[in-house]
Amino acid sequence: MSFTESSHDVAGGKIQLLKDGSGPPVVVFHHDIGNPGWLPYYMELAEDHTVYVPSHPGYGKSERPEWARNVRDIACLYQRLLKDLGLNSTAVVGLGFGGWIAAEMATMCHHEFTHMVLVNAMGIQPTRGEIIDQFLISTLDYVRAGFADQQKFADLYKERPDVDQLVQWEINREMTTRIAWKPYMFNQAMPHLIKTVTVPTLVVWGKHNRVVPLSCGERYQQLMPRAKLEIIEGNHYLEVEKHHELARLTKSFLAGK
């Protein structure tokens, strides 16, 4: 199996989209550090789903919308992308920052998602602990902070990542700066709006998440009427370090089991 790559014009900017598999659709929204490629987690989902992985506007190969100022702007662009793709009824998975985008989309259009999986999602203010401030540390340290096993980091990015990788992280981080600088990594309206979202939601959290505290996951679960919380061993990048377990949880949830 090999994924396909396409480019879609939304509001005057190109959005890069990776796609593979067949079956009911599931759209995966990546982390703020960007999508590192077609991950084993996507492959496992693609065994029985059509998996779509867009690069957020301003990240990866997607063009930067210079005008965008907040994460809701990105969510709006993605609403249009889903419409263009004919995905009027789809499951979504949001990883970290991508979870924030998914949650924003859910608050905008309640009937669009069949299921939502929020994995270590940002977007809501923690009640205990703090979301790690990436702007005070290097991107390298920020990415490493989300890995429980540094060997897994090295397997994916190399022990000493290529300069091209550093540059791509830099481009992604610039976009994060533009849309998530303040308040940092959450929307103050989220606790109020997310209460209205009745989409069946699975919240998955790494027990030892060093990037986004567990209290964010607990808050999503407590506020959303149809959400359950699964805590698994691991840190922030569960789709890399715990991809079998996350894929199993995701597929089981999407299958309604």
């Binding site: 290097s138 610039e174 533009r178």
Partner: protein, 417 residues
């Protein structure tokens, strides 16, 4: 020549060994190491020194602003400027400058500056800066919009000073319902605006497009020449010939009675770990988006620790050798300053006299010797080289008041954007 005095106003009583232990002296360096009793002493010593600066014949006092770092105690440049407006009579009060992007209401800055100008009876030079990365982080002002905010805040302030209110401002980063301040500058059309920098191309181009003098901060001579090459070219494209009136230069220059004492004190420039000799943190100094895409690759490598800042830890001897730091008796410093003046031809020269733990007495000695023995010699050299300041020949405050056609977007500007 316009000859002015500068010091960073360091909080020199901080424990250096703690800075070494942490590996940085800004932003996250704990402020438990600040001693308010020492701070009070130091602020008052500086004010006494500024009085002496005027007394011994300097033309101006240059001030700057930094935050969350011991190398500069000026948390609000306009406060010190307001004090100087009241306690001095003659010197220009040269602010280099107010960090515009971290201001949420530039009109308030315009008001403060107008008050300083009126109280000083028209002695304000109102420079503007982008602020360093640390300023963006501590003020939580988005570094990705730093340049946009700088330019918009500047436009708003100049309009506030020159266009009678009330009017409304609906900009990209600033929105103000009513702009109609009752404090307006004494100087018309507005106080002079000078722009300091450390050779960022965008800032040089922007300054030249406005015909604002650019003050090169402690650059080696060759780098300064590159700055003027860019500036002069943009000036030409903008319809005017640039010269010494548009050129400023800041140089660290400590003067003492003997060479030995001067060099001993000059080591304090290193001790302070300030802007030019400091422990810079590559993430904080230039957060993502603070610089243009041209810097992305180099900054990514630097932040990851793959590369290191060139010359950041140059020895005192090396810095003295390349004339980015001068120390000595009046006689020796004049000869070195002559080289800088001949090579870079500035009409504005700032002498950064004291730093670190250089004590009050030695600071005053430096100021006195510079005033009595160095400045007269520099004036003669300046005269012989034709280094006029903007005040000497009363240049227009900006291109808008120069009587030339507004500039068309230039190739240089396009390249910098």
């Amino acid at each position: 020549m316009h000859l002015m005095y500068f010091t960073e106003q360091p909080m020199s009583a901080y424990p250096k060994e703690e800075g070494d232990r942490y590996g940085y002296t800004a932003l996250l360096f704990p402020n438990k190491f600040f001693d308010a009793a020492e701070g009070s002493r130091l602020y008052n010593e500086r004010l006494e020194e500024y009085r002496l600066v005027e007394e011994v014949g300097y033309d101006g006092i240059m001030l700057n602003e930094h935050h969350t770092a011991p190398f500069c105690m000026q948390a609000k440049i306009n406060i010190c400027a307001a004090i100087l407006a009241a306690i001095t009579k003659r010197v220009k009060i040269v602010l280099l400058g107010n960090p515009l992007p971290i201001a949420d209401n530039p009109v308030r800055l315009a008001e403060e500056l107008a008050m300083i100008d009126m109280i000083s009876k028209g002695r304000l030079v109102s420079g503007f800066v982008r602020g360093g990365g640390v300023e963006s982080l501590q003020a939580n002002a988005n570094p990705a919009f730093n340049r946009e905010r700088f330019e918009e805040a500047h436009d708003l302030i100049v309009k506030t000073w020159t266009t009678p209110g009330p009017w409304r401002w609906e900009g990209n980063h600033y929105q103000l319902r009513v702009v109609n301040p009752w404090a307006l500058p004494l100087q018309k059309p507005h106080p002079r605006i000078w722009i300091p920098g450390v050779s960022s191309r965008e800032t040089i181009v922007w300054s030249a497009q406005h015909r604002y003098p650019y003050i090169a901060l402690n650059l080696p001579i060759e780098e300064s020449k590159n700055v003027w090459k860019i500036y002069d070219q943009v000036a030409k494209e903008s319809g005017y010939e640039a010269g010494p009136t548009e050129r400023g230069y800041l140089i660290r220059c400590h003067v003492a009675e003997t060479e030995e004492k001067a060099i001993r004190n000059a080591r304090e420039f290193m001790w302070m770990q300030g802007e030019f000799t400091g422990l810079t943190h590559p993430v904080w100094a230039a957060p993502s988006g603070y610089l243009g895409p041209w810097a992305r690759r180099a900054m990514a490598e630097l932040r990851a620790g793959y590369t290191h800042v060139r010359g950041a830890n140059a020895s005192l001897e090396r810095q003295m050798q390349n004339l980015t730091l001068i120390a000595g008796t009046p006689k020796t410093v004049v000869e070195k300053l002559r080289i800088i003046m001949e090579e870079t031809r500035p009409g504005i020269l700032a002498l950064y006299g004291n730093d670190g733990r250089i004590n009050h007495e030695d600071s005053k000695t430096c100021i006195r010797l510079t005033g009595q023995e160095v400045l007269p010699a520099l004036r003669e050299i300046g005269k012989s080289l034709g280094l006029d300041s903007p005040f000497d020949v009363n240049t227009p405050v900006s291109l808008a008041y120069s009587g030339v056609q507004p500039p068309k977007p230039s190739a240089s500007a396009a390249a910098a954007s």
